[in-house]
Amino acid sequence: MEQTKELLVNMGPQHPSTHGVLRLMVKLDGETVTWCEPDVGYLHRCFEKLSEAKTYPQVIPFTDRCDYVGAILNEQVYVEAVEKLFGDAIVVPERAQYIRVLMAEFQRIASHLIGLGSAAMDLGAVTPFLYAWRDREKMYTLFERITGARMLYNYLRVGGLRNDLPEGIIGAETDGEDKAAETFWGFINYFDSYVVPQWDGLVTGNRIFQWRTMNVGRLSAVDAIAYGSSGPVLRGSGVKFDLRKNLPYSVYDRMEFDIPVGKEDGDCFDRWSVRMKEMEQSSRIVKQCLKWLAENPGEVMGKVPRVLKPPKGEVYHRIEGARGEIACYVISDGGPNPFKVKYRSPCFTHLQVMPLLCPGHKVADVIAILGSIDIVLGEVDR
């Protein structure tokens, strides 16, 4: 008599030159997944141990390298946490706050573009990935003009920013596509009028893409909260929770934007469309920042002591990153080095829903689910 046997398959890119190093152990019954477990740690650099041996400003470059696709957001959480430790002793100038928000939202668009592009590419659509790369390249040219680096900026400082925006980078509201890589307004106008409709037509409205993602990987709202999901994964499940609105930090309380949400138990397509709509909202925030910044010149660095020695204390600061809630737990013992820096990475937490979502689906759907969670392995392993 013939017998069938469950098959254990190791999935995932494991070579260091691929886009992240992750191993998914999957048990298969025919084509159907019966069990799944992620194995992480291939990129572990012990960021938390390293930062204990450095001074407060020296940790900022490490935070960039946690999530190298959304570097400004990681700097922001660490820098704001240290500023909170100082209490009233450090006042960040308003202009610096606006530039931080501008850069963070700009970074969010860039990060979502890559996330969406690689999710589509993993499903077999290579074209959107190249388009994402094309548009991100324009953004990185802008980033390079401001910070001097394309990916890992080391731009934010405790108390402000390293330097102001260079002259002429804001541009005029009428700037069009030809200035997309030269001015912020040029890119935002290009993005609104060209990039968003293109993605909607090419992928979101694509029937094959919808067949691959709809009804795949349903995550209920209760499970999403219990499993520690945040950001687009949580909102994709219909929970209207965004730390920018619900726990406002920086100058987000002055910004006007909506929170896009998905269905009650969201599938991969909901998470995808939440990200698409979030990019449009980010573009709205960027426009508000640009209008404010054009009218209000000023300092970008507050008064900060030469050697940063925050008073004894602990702080836990949460912000809305591109992939979810980034948080930083900083403890100071009064010395020049942080006593402890704990970094809460959203992707690390999100990987826990894989064993919940995958069983019962086909092998190919595992890729769709992983793409919809949008992980960056550098952040998972820190």
């Binding site: 012990c46 209207k240 619900n246 204390g313 702080v315 836990y316």
Partner: protein
């Protein structure tokens, strides 16, 4: 947080710089305190970690509330003091499935064991790691070092 004050009158409750509540409970009351937070709506396990104070460890469970209508909800940090070596803590991964990985990471980095954890294995370090617990303050890396290169001198 009033419900914590009522339930745990002896526990030490204070505020962090940013307004978060922290409560230091005994090891016996740890599970109960987490349960009380869960019942009060703090169903989102943000992070779980430990602090090495050199003479003791402190386990910190940071719990948040996800309520779309609420603005400015603060986090509760449930803390419990532990010995530095051989610490055992009841696992809260059944209540907060999202804390599962964080508990494994805390075991990996500090050596705290979680009783009743569904999958108590190392997570970031290799499974066969023998070199101690890296985030303890007195950790020494005992792995063989590559010899340092010295400038070559011509023998005279």
């Amino acid at each position: 947080m009033d419900f914590l004050k009522e339930k745990f009158p002896q526990a030490q409750i204070s505020n962090l710089v940013n307004g978060d509540t922290e409560i230091l409970v005994d090891l016996k009351e740890y599970e109960e305190a987490v349960r009380a937070c869960y019942d009060a709506g703090f169903t989102f396990g943000s992070v779980l970690s430990a602090i090495d104070w050199k003479e003791r460890l402190t386990l910190v469970a940071s719990l948040c509330r996800i309520d779309p209508a609420e603005v400015g909800c603060k986090t509760i940090h449930v803390k419990v003091d532990l010995p530095r070596a051989g610490a055992h803590v009841p696992s809260i991964a059944k209540l907060y499935p999202g804390v599962n990985f964080h508990e494994r990471e805390t075991y990996d980095m500090y050596g705290v064991r979680f009783d009743g954890h569904p999958n108590h294995r190392r997570i970031l370090l290799p499974d066969n790691w023998q070199g101690g617990f890296p985030l303890l303050k007195d950790f020494v890396d005992k792995r063989p070092k590559r010899p340092r290169l010295v400038r070559h001198r011509i023998a005279e």
